[in-house]
């Protein structure tokens, strides 16, 4: 009963979010609500403000205007700006994940895969080596990395493996919300397909809420429930993924969908 009620409540709320760099308005008046288990894709051409919006949503960048609120585990929805730094960083290590396009940004390249996955657990006080290692092995298996590679550093991993390791590192604490910025961006097409497949399975199994930035509409199609189209820092169209991609209203989205615009 409580779960049903809670699913009715947004997990993350963006309210008139704006960010300007001098005279450049990177993000203008963006508002939306994200619900538990919902996958939202942000699409748009290069420079349209996708990454900026993701950074605002994840509290890594302070907005020039507007608010982001998040419903904490205790059910209370709080303004990110009102959280202390310690609380915000804790959120980042527990309830949230952030998957970077470049895995080197999200991993510790010089420490073993096991420690990369275990770090978040140790950060929240896990103090039993055997159990940390067990959990790391478990997660490597779930992201299809051979457990025999657990003591190797990601330096020795392929691009696709690194990205899967980054995902495992983020998911080990059972987050509710994961931000992803072009997670398949730097990968070969065949590697991309495998990663997307894996992401789709994990997102469904773990009932994750996801905000994923991509300029690949195929990624949006495969993963997301809803799409937001950005142009010049504004959201110009938003709706259910199939609706927006099959029957776009805005001329710009029509161009985007018919692949006339370069990605």
């Amino acid at each position: 009963m409580a779960d049903l009620l809670e699913a009715d409540q947004p997990l993350l709320i963006a309210d008139s979010l704006s960010k300007s760099y001098g005279r450049i308005a990177a993000c203008r008046e963006v508002s939306f609500s994200l619900y538990p288990g919902e996958v939202l894709a942000i699409v748009g051409e290069s420079g349209s403000g996708k990454s900026t919006l993701l950074q605002l949503l994840s509290g890594q960048l302070a907005p020039s205007g507007g608010h982001v609120s998040y419903r904490m585990r205790d059910g209370v929805t709080r303004d990110l700006a009102a959280l202390g730094e310690a609380e915000r960083r804790l959120l980042f290590r527990t309830d949230w994940g952030f998957v970077h396009q470049d895995p080197a940004q999200g991993l510790r390249m010089a420490v073993s895969a096991g420690a990369n996955v275990g770090e978040r657990l140790m950060a929240v006080g896990w103090n039993h080596y055997g159990r940390i290692r067990e959990s790391a092995s478990d997660w490597l298996t779930r992201v299809e990395i051979d457990v025999a590679r657990i003591d190797d550093a990601p330096r020795t991993y392929s691009g696709g493996m690194r990205q899967r390791l980054q995902i495992a590192r983020n998911l080990v604490t059972g987050p509710l919300l994961v931000f992803m910025d072009e997670p398949t961006g730097g990968l070969d097409v065949s590697v991309q397909a495998r990663l997307l497949d894996l992401l789709r399975t994990l997102v469904a199994e773990l009932h994750l809420a996801v905000v994923i930035v991509t300029h690949d509409l195929a990624v949006a199609r495969l993963l997301s429930h809803r799409v937001m189209v950005m142009k010049g820092g504004r959201v110009i169209e938003t709706g259910l993924t199939d609706q927006v991609l099959d029957d776009p209203r805005e001329p710009y989205t029509q161009l985007l969908v018919s692949s006339i615009l370069p990605p």
Binding site: E85, R89, V111, E119, M122, N127, H128, G130, R133, D151
Partner: protein, 298 residues
């Protein structure tokens, strides 16, 4: 004798006051690294200029100074620092741990239990325990501020994954007063338990890195570990060849070019004290005894 060309203990009074302020702050926040304006000293950095500045700032005319280098009073480094303060401050010096009021040390804590009227001053090369995995100073500062110490366990995890046990043998990280994680300087982890609840004041000076930190008397100091890989102080499993001690930290000394070796106390004062009290080990009578400590520091 006090040489008139220098101010007492070499440093000028204003510098000493600045260092004392840093020391007081360090004592008030156990384990916290306090920045200070480290001065040039008439010796190279590797010689413990951080420790020397701390010692200079706390010495009074009545103090009796002991200086040890890896447990020995007789290395060039230890002798030079002792002479430096004998000359610039005119203080008495000693090699006997229980006679000293200030003990400056590199890489060891004496075996004899310290008491309330003593201050132990450590020479520290690298004060930041998180540096190993996080090179950014801004980030390590934030981690200390927010007590985010998961990274310390990542290091221990790596040890176990690679070697099957926590292989870190020196500079083994500790948590001070249940708050700050601290690098105890490159002392062997064998010495870590001596820092806990110690009656003496412990001060740490890093000259090149310009940091001072402290453990006030009777402060809890806990070595980090895992439940299933608990902290274990390590020593060679042998009695001291000279005094027979079974519980002191030992140096391994090669005694000839055929690979013969012996184990002797690294704390020379402790070892000599035991021998004088009639204890002896397997090689007590060896004429080699007098030179043992010098070679131990090679």
């Amino acid at each position: 004798m006090n040489a008139p060309a220098y101010n007492f203990a070499y440093l000028d009074e204003q510098t000493k006051r600045m260092i004392r302020r840093a020391i007081l702050k360090a004592i008030a926040i156990p384990g916290y690294q306090v920045p200070f304006a480290s001065r040039e000293m008439p010796m190279p950095y590797g010689w413990g200029t951080g420790g020397v500045q701390v010692t200079a700032a706390i010495l009074g005319p009545q103090d009796v100074l002991k200086v040890i280098d890896q447990g020995s009073d007789d290395t060039t480094n230890a002798i030079s620092i002792r002479k430096f303060f004998a000359k610039t401050a005119g203080v008495g010096t000693t090699t006997a741990t229980d006679q000293a009021t200030v003990i400056q040390t590199r890489h060891r804590i004496p075996e004899a239990a310290l008491h309330e009227n003593q201050v132990l001053v450590y020479q520290v090369p690298i004060p930041e325990p998180l540096r190993f995995l996080e090179p950014r100073e801004t980030e390590t500062r934030r981690m200390h501020a927010l007590a985010e110490y998961g990274l310390m366990h990542v290091k221990l995890y790596e040890d176990i994954a690679r070697f099957g046990h926590i292989a870190t043998a020196y500079a083994y990280p500790v948590k001070v007063n249940a708050r700050y994680v601290m690098d105890p300087s490159p002392t062997p982890k064998f010495d870590n338990p001596k820092m806990d609840n110690c009656p003496a004041l412990q001060l740490f000076g890093a000259g090149r890195e310009k940091r001072i930190y402290a453990i006030p008397p009777y402060t809890q100091v806990v070595s980090l570990d895992f439940e299933d890989h608990p902290f274990e102080p390590y020593r060679f499993n042998a009695p001291c060849a000279l005094c027979g001690a079974e519980n002191s930290y030992l140096d391994e000394i090669v005694t000839d070019d055929r690979g013969s070796r012996m184990f002797v106390c690294s704390d020379t004062d402790y070892c000599e004290g035991r021998q004088a009290a009639g204890h002896h080990g397997a090689l007590s009578a060896a004429p080699y005894k007098d030179k043992a400590q010098g070679d131990a520091n090679g």
